[in-house]
Each structure stands twice: as C-alpha cells, then as structure tokens.
C-alpha cells in the first residue's frame, strides 16, 4: 500500500492539531463459535495491516493499536462490546463483527453513540444504516455478475438453482441476481428449489432440479452444506458446470473429494488474482504466516487500511474526524488487497474474480481449464 494523497478533503476536516501517540481501535471478531473461522482469518489480515502501518510509519509517530474482543457468536455480547467501546474514550473506532446478526444489533448503537464502525463480511441489510456505519466487504450480490463471462464461456443455456433460503444474500442471488444475469447472457432458469439451514440431505431438491435437465446447476449453500450438495449432485448423475458462492471456499469442499471439482463462484479476493496491490498483500501475508491468505484476511487488511487512510486524510483521530475521513477515502476509493476498491456510500464495491475448485484447491477460473 502507498501513502494517501492529502488533498482538500483533509482541510475540510478542520485539521486537528496533530495525532495522538496511539490510536486504539476495538476489533469485535469471533474467535470461538460457529463463525470463528471467519473471525480468526480476518484478525490475521488486521494484524498484518497494523504491523505494516506501524512499521512504515504511515501515520508518522502515531501507533495504531487494535484490541481484540470475542463475541463468541452472540449478538447481545457484540452489542454490549460496542456500548462499552462507546463509553471508553480510549477507543477511536471499531472494527465490527463478521456475523450479520451481530452487526445488525451493533449498528443502531454505534449510530446513536456516534462511533465509527467498519465491518467486514456482515453482508445483510440493516448493517450500513447511517452516518457512522461502514463496510469493507462488497456484498456478494454486487460482484456476483462477474460470473457472466464464465457462464458464456461454458455455453450455458439453462440453469437449475438449489439455494439456501435462510440466508438473505443467497436468497437474493438466487431470486434476483441469477435471473437477471440470465436475461443478459441468455440462459433460462428452469427450476429454483429452496432448502433450509437445517437441510442435510439434498438428494430430493437435486433430483427435483435435474428433472428439468439444465446445462448448469447453481448450488447456493452455506459452508457445511456445500460438500454434501456437490457430492449428491454428482451422484445424481450431473457432470456439468456448477455455480456456487464464496461459502464453498476456504476448504469447505475438501470432504467432497473428486466430486467437488467443477464448482465455480465469484469472490472478492483470490491470492492468485492479478494487480499490484493484491500481489503485495499476498507476499507480505505469506511471509508472516507461511500460508495463502483467505478473502476474510484480505477484507480485514483492507478495513484497517481504510481506517488508517481516514486518519491521515482527516488529520485527526477523534471519532468524528475518523468518520469524516472514512467518508472522504470512500469518495476516492483506493487500491487494496482485494484490488481496485470503490464505494457506494459507505459500502464497498469491486469487480470480483471467478474461482473454481479443482478437487484439491481453489484456482482462478481462467487458469483452471
């Protein structure tokens, strides 16, 4: 990452008299419980960014300090952490929780307490609700259309959909995004079957969809459901292309073995994606942790950079200054781990990349074949 260019945005903030020696931020990310996986990965990205910012003296002599709190999957715990942070003047901003329900509980409190809060993940509605709420993960629905090229390349003319209706994002992709892509690239949705969070056996919905003989199937399921869905799809005799979602990533498809191969989905980040800023992030990450970063880490990383740029932009570390800084940075966009980042209001946008599971790992869709 390079330094942000100071322009008239900073001047508009009234330029507070320099920065304190430390800026403390609370990170509310699950380290235990059902979404611990996401939270822990995000924290790795956050730590990397903090280290980099402090080493590079991006904020001069000012040090950025992040304190982790674990809401352990509970919205109420997350909410009370936000309240505590608002009370404690030490905290300049919050890196908000990754789960939507926690975020939705936290947002109104942060809003009322005038505390800037930057989320990652938490893709549902009701999270970015006002002036103080920001999100450093683009909603899946915004970059899902990047899969259009992939669909064209596979010459898909008809699509069957099995989707988890309990998840708002997946529901929207299945009911709105995929049909509208179909109108553009010219395929027909032949069947659309909803399953629940509690569904474990997908043979019935899959055979329901396969009855319509589609060229491709979209399996829009949550993490643990993906390997089973893929396996049963293959067992049911379907060997065409499969569209998925990011929840299939992060090794979730491993248990499906060979059967998992051939599922493709758009993601906001992949370690192999081109672009200078992304390459640099991956390099640093590998050096620090000895593994490839996941998208959650990239999001965490970018969220911290957004914050740091905001501080610099505003030239102050008060909550209000940070809020204005975040807005200012959002107005310009920046190059981050996830590539060229833009914003719509306080919500992140980017083009996205299509990746494919080849049975053992995620590869960029182009390079797969």
């Amino acid at each position: 990452g390079g330094g942000g260019t100071a322009d008239d945005g900073a001047a508009a903030n009234g330029g507070a008299g320099g920065l304190p020696s430390e800026i403390t931020v609370m990170a509310i990310k699950d380290e235990t419980g059902a979404v611990a996986f996401t939270g822990l990965s995000t924290l790795k990205g956050i730590d990397l960014a903090v280290e980099q910012i402090n080493n590079e003296k991006f904020l001069g002599d000012t040090k950025l300090v992040v304190e982790n709190r674990d809401p352990a999957g509970k919205a109420q715990t997350a909410a009370s952490m936000v309240t505590a942070a608002i009370q404690d003047q030490k905290y300049a901003a919050i890196l908000g929780p990754v789960a939507s329900d926690q975020a939705a509980a936290a947002s109104p409190i942060a809003e009322r307490g005038k505390m800037p809060i930057v989320y990652t993940q938490s893709g549902s509605e009701g999270v970015v609700i006002g002036e103080y709420t920001f999100r450093a993960t683009p909603p899946m629905t915004s970059y899902y259309p990047v899969i259009s090229d992939y669909i064209k390349s596979k010459n898909i003319k008809s699509l069957g959909i099995v989707y988890n209706t309990s998840l708002p994002t997946l529901k929207e992709v299945a009911e709105k995004v995929l049909p509208s892509i179909g109108e553009q690239v010219g395929y027909e949705v032949t069947a659309s079957v909803a399953v629940q969070m509690t569904t474990q056996d997908f043979s019935a919905p899959i055979s329901q969809v396969l009855k319509t003989k589609p060229d491709a199937v979209a399996l829009l399921l949550v993490g643990g459901q993906n390997p089973t869905g893929m396996r049963q799809l293959r067992q049911a005799g379907f060997d065409g292309p499969v569209l998925g979602n990011t929840a299939a990533g992060a090794g979730n498809l491993k248990p499906a073995g060979e059967d998992g191969a051939g599922m493709a989905w758009p993601t906001d980040f992949h370690p192999d994606q081109p672009g200078e800023s992304s390459r640099k992030f991956v390099e640093l990450y590998k050096a620090k942790y000895g593994e490839e970063p996941l998208n959650y880490a990239a999001e965490g990383y970018d969220s911290v950079w957004w914050l740091a740029r905001a501080v610099k932009e505003a030239g102050g570390a008060s909550r209000d200054a940070i809020k204005k800084g975040l807005d200012a940075v959002a107005a310009q966009g920046f190059d981050g781990a996830m590539g060229k980042i833009t914003f719509e209001g306080r919500d992140m946008r980017l083009t996205g990349t299509v990746v494919e599971w080849n049975g053992t790992e995620e590869v960029l869709a182009g390079s797969a074949s």
């Binding site: 709190r69 109420q76 009370q87 939705a104 609700i129 998840l167 708002p168 529901k171």
Partner: protein, 309 residues
C-alpha cells in the same frame, strides 16, 4: 455506578427481556401445561411491534399492545385447538407452532423482511420501561403464586383430576396459562425489538426455547424468582466467561450440566431450603413450646414464606 450501568446497559436490558421470555415458558409449566408457545408469541409480538412501528409509525406502546393482543388471541386459539394434548406431545405441538411462526416470517416477503428480518424499529423505549413492566409482571405473578389461586394452580399441575374434584375448572386454568404465556412472550418480543431495533427469523427459533428453558430449570421452575435467577445467570454468563476464550462453550456446558445435577430444585430451591431450615432451627431454638395447634393460625404458608420477595 453510572459508568458500570452505561457500559452494561445492553446486558441489563437483556436481563429483563430474558426474564419475561423465561416467564412466558414458566407460567404454563407452573400450570402443568407443557407449552413452548411463548416463544412463537415472542415472534408474533416482536414482528407485529416492528411492523407497526416501522410501517405505520405508531407510538411504541400502542404497537406493543397490538402485538400482545394478537399474541393473546393466538394463544387462546391454540389453547382451544390443543386442549386434548398433554405432556411432551403438547410440547412438540407448540414447538411445531414456534417453528411454523419462524418459517412464516422468513417467507413473509416485504412485510416481514424475509430471512434478513426487519430493521430500524426506532423508539424511545429504554431500560426504565422494560424494568417497570417486569416489576409489574413479577408482582402480579408473585401474587398468583400464593393463597387460594396458588393452591389451585398447584392442583391443576399436579393432578388435574383431583383439581376437578375440588371444583376447579381445569380447562379454564389451562386456557389462562396459554393466554398469559402469550402475553408475556409477546411483551418480551416487543421490548426486544424496540430496544435492539431489529428482529430476524433466526432470533426466534428452537435455540430461544432451550435458552429460556435452561433459565427456568437452573433458576427454579416453581416461582418467578427462579426465572429471575436464571435470566440473570444466563444473560451475564457469556460476558463473565469471555476470559476463557475458545473454551467458553465448554465451561458454559459444564455449568449448565452441574446445575442440572446438583440443584434439582433450581437455585431458587437451594435458597428456599436454606431459608426454611434456618427458620426451623431458629424456631426450634427460640420457642420450644409452640404447639401444633398454633400452626394453622398463620395463614401464610411455609412455601410463601420461603419465597424471597
């Protein structure tokens, strides 16, 4: 003190909401009605309140009142429809009702916001309101646990046939249990949505049933005080256990299991027993000449005495 209050305001509010939710399951259990419909009514109350506040912009108390009314009617209808069921069969039927409510709101489209639920039910309802309401509820319930009404409830629970032979209209008491449970559930749901400004289908599922049940079993299922103890413990335990990091769930589980094993009457039972034996020893030590005839002059029963007011 105020600093503590400010930083724990969410937990304080949650304690009261938890208390009301726990009571919505405890009241029917105390009546011998194994109904979990209170949780479904929590959903009805929460969604009705949220929809009215967001879409119609009515004042919060009116919206909550509407939610409670709708829930009470639903509760009464359930009581009529399920009158032949007992025991865990009733439990399952009411859980089925709860889950149906969940699915209905998840598929309610625009009106209920579908799986993502509703946001922005902003109002000026605060801690004072939920605390005062809880206080009123608790006072009323405490009264219902004593004297004639309390005895009758006990009879309806322990032996409905015997109760009938004593002239108690068991059917009416059961219906009453359903309606009270619905009102309490809807009240809890309404408060929760107004305090948190949001509600989603996942907030009202099976896990809410187990949480409320855990509260009343560990706290004590025979009195409101048990529900209160349970609500306090299980609202605050997660933040107390925060230090234990990844093993938080294990510790939580161990605590729940130990409570189930070691305190069969709930924590309230432990407190009452201790109080009673302390009282007995004091009585024995103080005046040894209390004849048995003196016993029936006091109209306050030992049970009622044992309940910390």
């Amino acid at each position: 003190m105020t600093a503590w209050y400010d930083s724990n305001i969410i937990l304080i509010q949650s304690t009261f909401v938890g208390l009301l939710t726990a009571l919505s399951l405890q009241v029917p259990i105390r009546f011998g009605v194994f109904s979990f419909a209170g949780v479904g009514c929590y959903g009805i109350g929460a969604y009705t309140t949220a929809i009215i506040v967001i879409r119609l912009g009515w004042p919060a108390p009116l919206a909550m009142g509407a939610g409670m009314l709708l829930a009470a009617v639903t509760g009464y209808l359930l009581a009529l429809v399920l009158s032949r069921l007992g025991g865990l069969y009733l439990g399952m039927a009411t859980i089925a009702f709860d889950l149906i409510v969940t699915v209905v709101v998840a598929n309610g489209g625009e009106l209920t916001g579908g799986p993502s639920g509703l946001f922005g039910a902003i109002s000026d309802v605060g801690t004072v309101h939920v605390a005062l309401t809880s206080l009123v509820v608790v006072v009323l319930l405490a009264l219902s646990e004593r004297g004639r009404f309390g005895r009758r409830v006990e009879a309806v629970r322990e032996d409905p046939e015997l109760a009938a032979a004593m002239g108690v209209e068991v059917r009416h008491y059961r219906q009453l249990a359903f309606v009270i449970s619905a009102l309490l559930g809807a009240c809890a749901g309404g408060f929760n949505v107004l305090l948190r400004t949001t509600i989603a289908p996942t907030d009202i599922g099976f896990s809410l049933v187990t949480l409320a049940l855990t509260m009343i079993i560990v706290g004590g299922s025979r009195s409101w005080a048990g529900a209160f103890i349970g609500a306090v413990i299980f609202t605050w335990l997660p933040s107390v256990l925060e230090f234990s990091g990844q093993w938080q769930k294990v510790i939580y589980g161990v605590i729940v299991a130990l409570a189930a094993i070691w305190v069969p009457g709930g924590l309230l039972g432990v407190i009452t027993d201790a109080y009673r034996s302390w009282q007995r020893s004091r009585r024995a030590g103080g005046s040894s000449d209390v004849g048995p005839g003196d016993g029936d002059r006091g109209t306050v029963s030992p049970r009622a005495e044992g309940t910390p007011a």
